[in-house]
Amino acid sequence: MSDTINITLKVWRQKGADDKGHFETIPVKDVETHMSFLEMLDTVNEQLALEGKDIIAFDNDCREGICGMCGCLVNGIAHGPLKAMTLCQLHMRKFSDGDTIAVEPWRAKAFKVVKDLVVDRSPLDKIIQAGGYISANTGGAPDANSLPIPMEVAEKAMDAAACIGCGACVAACPNASAMLFTSAKVSQLALLPQGRPEAAKRAINMIRTHDACGFGNCTNERECEAVCPKEIKITNIARLNREFIKASIGSDVM
């Protein structure tokens, strides 16, 4: 039923943000191809633990592709070689016997390495805190159907809202820009009538925070779109640009 393969893992080990870090080569024998990539790492860790060695630190949580917690570069591509997929959904059957697999953490000035493959993605939270919300206090909302929203608009907003905040866009971007992430939230809220009152302030503040966090500038390389596990499109970045232009020229926000 299930085959096994032997692989060589080249995994990034780094004690903390100040450590230089290095690749450690670990041969892994008899990997069942039905395993997910993270389960493969689990078995490696189980072995390391029994040998009394420090286990490979990596982030993960739901393992069903929705929480956005997992993610590393696998052989140079964020979340691995398959399209529209988080790392936890990658299975070992996509690799061949004898493969060498390089695993690296997301790298960006804004994402400090915590340990091994774990990075600090809190700057993404900061961008949301700068305006990725609608100021609607609990309790005061009008009836949900009081404002019809065309289905196409709701669907477009949902396309953007599907972002899981994993940071793969930043990791894959040659400039370590978080523009796709920022644009997804700005787009979602800009499309919906509920989000319009704060649209100008939102676009400007989120971009300023994005820049202040140390993310790079978007140069339309489209690598973000290519790796995004939720297939968020760069049309959202264009919408963000429009929102930004509108806000800068046409609003009172300084």
Binding site: S2, H91, L124, D125, Y133, D143, A161, G165
Partner: protein
């Protein structure tokens, strides 16, 4: 111990408005003198933190993941119920209440379940105002669907990502409060101890999961919004960091744990394929609308499914339940799957799976129609199992999914420890012995947005003079920190040769097998013995590599497992004492002549609340009788 439910008097439909009208309030200027600690940032925690911050309280919110956007509420797919009656199909608050209490097999409080139904509509309003892109019809109004066998369409949804969108909505409100400074957010922290001063909850000790440091946080009330304990089964649909730690810490401090044996097993999950398996992936229940469930009639039949002729296939659900067929409720579907697999009819590499076959649906409706309905689920299955469901039947097996049990709370969501409130899946309050589909999201948000902002006020008003008096320099914090540290040092010093995962896997097998869907006295007693033996094994033979003062997942896992090993025994004990079948569970000794679940309302119409009595000591049972003044207790029948 007298369990005081504090349910307001008066007619059921007026209890909540009466409560809100008569409760004590906290003056706006005084709100800022109070600091509230919220542990957990899922639907309940994020909604509560945001709403309380908006009201002017100082909130400290703690999250185990690296961001509050990742809480496991995010994984809920199907939808959220609300008694809006937009489709004009006969829904009402009363009907949602009745479905909830009947679905829970009459093991929840009427007043709590009614309040849930009552505030459900406001959740949708709030979500839309936050910019949640719920599904809509062509005219731009909100779309609804029927879910989990309900006769009305009251489920709102955002594609298959409703939980994600609702959580991100709550997260956005939370983020806004973080930006204003009313909420202080602490990520990658795990609660290690509840700190009590003069018998009241006054703070917590957390461990910083990056550095391993302990931190003290004082507050005027503690809100636990830490989810359920489904991971006690090791393999479950829960995320890795879901754990029962916070609840067990409170339990050890005197909070009662109610109905721990009430866990929900979801019938359609991708089955286990080997020992390396780390989690089970849930597939939407909607698959049962068109898929036919079967196993080979011959025991141990190892032929490929397509080689088994029609006459040798056992469509056991259709045979046993001719009127409901494959659409029997979750618990019936789950239980029957286990029964046929236990009897040797199971399929797949482990023999613990049943087929869910779409061949007839494809023949009847065409592949296009099936693909349109289930395409994304089929793709997901193909990716995980490497089998094409369009050609071979899917394999499915039930998995632990949700826990209805939890810390005991009164109508105000306050546990029996003053100042300790419990919200969402972490409490026991509204779902009884079984939860309706699409009601978990509803409860988490109802508790966080619309219940706790009211019910925390009377407590705070009663301790007004104490506001902000207990600080981190109180000796109770130092003492608690010392105890936490001692506990960890003890774990690290065992130095045996088993990893936490290997012991947890074994515990999971015992729990699934003996304390899962169908139970009997002998099995439960055996389970208790096995759990005790595993606990001994844990404390003698555990190995935790690495050091404490570091990002070390093994330390986290070992610590959580110690809690599971204690709660597991209480779950088995609760199941043992509840000698009736109810909700999700079949007690094999309590069956009708046709072999169906038989509830015993005369003996067990109560909440079983367990008091912790010490390590390796049997917990003590307290009962809160359930009084039903508004609904008639009926037995379910799906024949």
């Amino acid at each position: 111990m007298q369990l005081e439910s504090k349910v307001p008097s008066g007619p059921l439909t007026e209890k909540w408005s009466k409560y809100r009208g008569e409760q004590k309030l906290v003056n706006p200027a005084n709100k800022r003198k109070f600091t509230l600690i919220c542990v957990g940032s899922g639907l309940a925690g994020a909604a509560a933190s945001a709403s309380l911050g908006e009201l002017g309280y100082n909130v400290k919110c703690f999250c185990i993941q690296d961001s509050p956007r990742r809480a496991h509420s995010i994984a809920a797919q199907g939808g959220i119920n609300a008694a809006k009656n937009y489709p004009n199909d006969g829904d009402s608050i009363w009907r949602l209440f009745y479905d909830t209490i009947k679905g829970g097999d009459f093991r929840s409080r009427e007043a709590d379940s009614y309040r849930l139904a009552e505030v459900s509509a406001a959740i949708i309003d709030q979500g839309v105002a936050q910019g949640i892109p719920f599904a809509r019809d062509y005219g731009g109004l909100l779309a609804n669907r029927s879910f989990g066998g309900a006769q009305v369409s009251r489920t709102f949804y955002a594609r298959g990502q409703t939980g994600q969108q609702l959580l991100l909505g709550a997260y956005s409100s939370l983020s806004r409060q973080i930006a204003t400074g009313k909420v202080q957010m602490y990520n990658r922290r795990e609660m290690m101890e509840l700190v009590m001063v003069n018998g009241k909850a006054k703070g917590i000790i957390v461990r910083n999961l990056i550095t391993g440091e302990y931190e003290s946080h004082a507050g005027d009330a503690v809100l636990l919004c830490t989810g359920g304990y489904g991971n006690v089964f090791y393999l479950s649909t829960n995320a890795e960091s879901c754990n029962c730690g916070a609840a067990v810490k409170a339990w050890r401090k005197g909070a009662l744990f109610a109905n721990p044996c009430f866990t929900q097993i979801h019938p359609t999950c991708i089955p286990n394929s080997g020992d390396y398996q780390s989690k089970l992936t849930l597939m939407s229940e909607s698959l049962r609308n068109d898929g036919r469930v079967w196993v080979p009639r011959k025991k141990g039949d190892k032929r490929a499914p397509n080689e088994i002729p029609e006459s040798e296939r056992w469509y056991y659900l259709e045979e046993k339940y001719p009127s409901f067929g494959n659409l029997v409720p979750r618990d019936v579907a789950s239980r029957n799957a286990k029964q046929v697999c236990d009897a040797g009819h199971g399929v797949g590499p482990t023999g613990y799976a049943v087929y869910l076959d779409f061949a007839d649906a494809i023949k009847r409706d065409g592949r296009d129609v099936v693909e349109r309905k289930y395409g994304n689920l089929f793709d997901m299955y193909l990716n995980i199992v490497d089998d094409n469901p369009y050609e071979t039947p899917m394999m499915m097996y039930p998995a632990s999914h949700y826990t209805m049990g939890g810390l005991w709370v009164d109508y105000e969501l306050q546990s029996n420890i003053p100042g300790l409130f419990v919200l969402g899946e972490a409490n026991f309050s509204v779902h009884g012995a079984n939860r309706l589909g699409a009601s978990a999201l509803m409860q988490g948000l109802a508790d966080g947005y619309f219940v706790i902002p009211y019910t925390v006020a009377p407590y705070l008003a009663s301790i007004y003079g104490e506001a902000g008096q207990v600080k981190e320099d109180n000796p109770a914090f130092k003492e608690a920190t010392q105890q936490v540290d001692d506990g960890f040092k003890k774990l690290m010093s065992i130095n045996g040769n088993r990893t936490p995962d290997s012991i947890h896997r074994e515990l999971g097998k015992v729990m699934v097998d003996k304390v899962g869907m169908a139970r009997n006295e002998a099995g439960l007693k055996e389970a208790i013995d096995k759990i005790r033996a595993l606990r001994d094994e844990f404390w003698k033979n555990l190995k935790v590599p690495g050091i404490l003062d570091d990002f070390n997942k093994n330390v986290e896992k070992a610590h959580r497992l110690a809690d599971y090993l204690e709660l597991a025994e209480c779950m088995a004990l609760d199941a043992l004492t509840r000698q009736e079948s109810c909700g999700c569970h079949l007690r094999e000794e309590s069956q009708s002549p046709e072999g169906e679940a038989l509830r015993k309302d005369d003996q067990f119409a109560h909440v079983s609340a367990w008091e912790y009595t010490g390590f390796n000591k049997e917990p003590k049972l307290h009962k809160e009788p359930l009084v039903f003044e508004n609904v008639e207790l009926t037995q379910r029948s799906y024949k």
